[in-house]
């Protein structure tokens, strides 16, 4: 039983990474209408930026996070401003293909810049050590991740519901033409929203470096899981992304413990079943 709890907690912490990427995916989709297949690559670049600044440049942990945010923010800005903006009105196939091309470009650039260097987990001294939970040592960092994930969720909630900018975002998300008509500058807003989405993914990647190995191919794996999460939670719903991430994270971790064989299959099966029975997911709108 303690195994179960322990593994479930593990699942909770890995869920937070999924939540961050899925949140970014959801913001990009909900506001800009872009389904960004390359969002996993943004996660990956966040990881690489953070790792480089922490490990190689010797900056402290928090500064390396900032570094990651800046790097990903710039990339997100360039992506949206010069490329994605041009295909907003085109059918979704073009979005998927364009963002898929970005995966190729980002993965390759990463390989070019960092070579085949792997990101090897290095725990910042601040978080070293464990806390006993159900009688077993549970890494402090993993607990930190859980809190960080929830904190980010709260920050997003505050931004969306309590700030002027957030209100504009929500207006643009639900009624683009009206928002335009009442004077909200849609293009700038979209760019800002997409950058915000990129930052979320990057934070996820950056926070993952102390406990996860990362290579230039991780973008592809992450995006698939993020898709599964958003499908379950409902495309365009942040609440759904959070719940979906929790479900997938915990189920995934429990599968690794009890039925490691078919973990991937179960994941996709859940995704398919949700799409068949309730395509709008748990919290998605009607479609």
């Amino acid at each position: 039983m303690s195994n179960f709890i322990f593994q479930a907690l593990n699942g909770l912490s890995s869920a937070m990474f999924l939540w961050l990427v899925a949140a970014g995916l959801t913001v990009a989709f909900g506001v800009c209408g872009i389904l960004n297949v390359a969002h996993g690559s943004l996660y990956m670049m966040g990881a690489y930026f953070a790792f480089t600044s922490f490990q190689i440049l010797g900056l402290n942990f928090w500064l390396s996070l900032v570094f990651a945010l800046i790097g990903a923010g710039i990339i997100g800005f360039l992506m949206e401003r010069f490329f994605l903006r041009r295909i907003y009105d085109q059918p979704i196939e073009f979005q998927l293909i364009l963002t898929f091309a970005f995966i190729l470009v980002f993965d390759n650039l990463t390989k070019m810049i960092w070579g085949t260097m792997l990101i090897i987990p290095t725990m910042p001294s601040l978080f070293q050590g464990t806390i006993p939970i159900v009688g077993r040592p549970f890494p402090i960092y993993n607990l930190f991740i859980v809190f960080a994930g929830i904190a980010v969720g709260l920050i997003i909630w505050v931004i969306l519901n309590k700030t002027w900018w957030g209100m504009k975002l929500r207006a643009a998300a639900s009624q683009r033409e009206m928002a335009n008509a009442i004077g909200i500058n849609i293009p700038t807003l979209f760019t800002a929203a997409f950058v915000f989405a990129a930052l979320l993914a990057a934070i996820g990647g950056a926070l993952s470096t102390p406990i996860r190995v990362c290579d230039s191919g991780v973008g592809g794996a992450v995006i698939i899981q993020a898709f599964v999460v958003t499908v379950i939670g409902g495309l365009g719903s942040l609440k759904g992304a959070f719940v979906g991430a929790l479900i997938i994270g915990v189920i995934g971790a429990l599968c690794t413990l009890y039925v490691p064989f078919i973990e991937l299959f179960v994941l996709y099966l859940i995704m398919a079943v949700v799409l068949i029975i309730r395509p709008q997911g748990l919290f998605g709108g009607e479609r």
């Binding site: 073009f94 091309a101 470009v105 390759n108 070019m112 592809g220 698939i224 991937l264 995704m271 799409l275």
Partner: protein, 328 residues
Amino acid sequence: MTGLKDTLALSIKRHRSQLCWLGAFIIFLFILPLFSGDYILYMVMRMAILCLLSYSVNLLLGNTGLLSFGQAGFYACGAYACGKVLLAGTSLLPGIIIGVAVAAIVAIILAFFCVRHTAIYFAMITLAFGMMIFSLAEKWVTFTGGDDGLIGIPRASLNFFYIFNIKMNTIPAYYYFVIVATLIAIYFIYRILHSPLGLIFQGIRDSETRVSFVGISVRKSRLICFTIAGIYAGLGGALFAPLEQTITPSTSHWITSADPIIATLLGGMYSFSGPIVGSVVYFLLKDIIVRLTMNWMLILGTIIIILVLAFRGGVMGAFHAYLSPRLK
């Protein structure tokens, strides 16, 4: 009712210049082994197989407006099924036919779940099914050989009811088989797309609501389209198994599904010869780029980005736009 002969005569008159090009192309394909080595023939065969996959994608995308990220699943079904049958010791045709049949059955079953949805959800559910097949291929080690896959698939000889028996172990011999099979398949797709069924597919792409209001069940038509697309992907896989003689789970990965999508985009989604042109161009591009540089993903990605932003109709679209003031 005009007979088949009259139909043929009418078609020939109508498309004379296109048929000339086609004829020259086919003749070129048939005499290619006379002056090319095995590697070039291998490449052309891979192009032909990609072409079948591209028609599979094109049928769904360019005609009923559905983007599938899971055609590789049917491709893998065809490949694994054919491989298992050939490993059991049969001749070539049973392997191919059973490969196609398995892909068709899987397509029919999955069709019921997939065609209820459109746009994003269709892309996602086909992705999910494709990856489920991938997981099965990876983990069901006793049946599929797991990560190592099926190895040592014999390139069985073409044994036609004991009337003739042609050995396929040389590349040129199998090349002719693949080319003939592909040309026949393309001919059938041509007939389908220009038939009432094809018109219905295009109508669905144009305006789905209107189609149901002319009395045609959109769902049934999509089921048929999905099944045909699955058959073509399965045929590609079945032809691939004896060629490569090894089948691994990566045949079912969504990244393999991306190849024909890009090829179709390159060649032009809305033209009939788009998949052919796109497959040839994409394959050549990939081959050349891989030889020149390690950074083929970067270059390929950049080319795709340029294409998506600049040319919506792909190569054929740009071609037509350039030529159309002069033609017709």
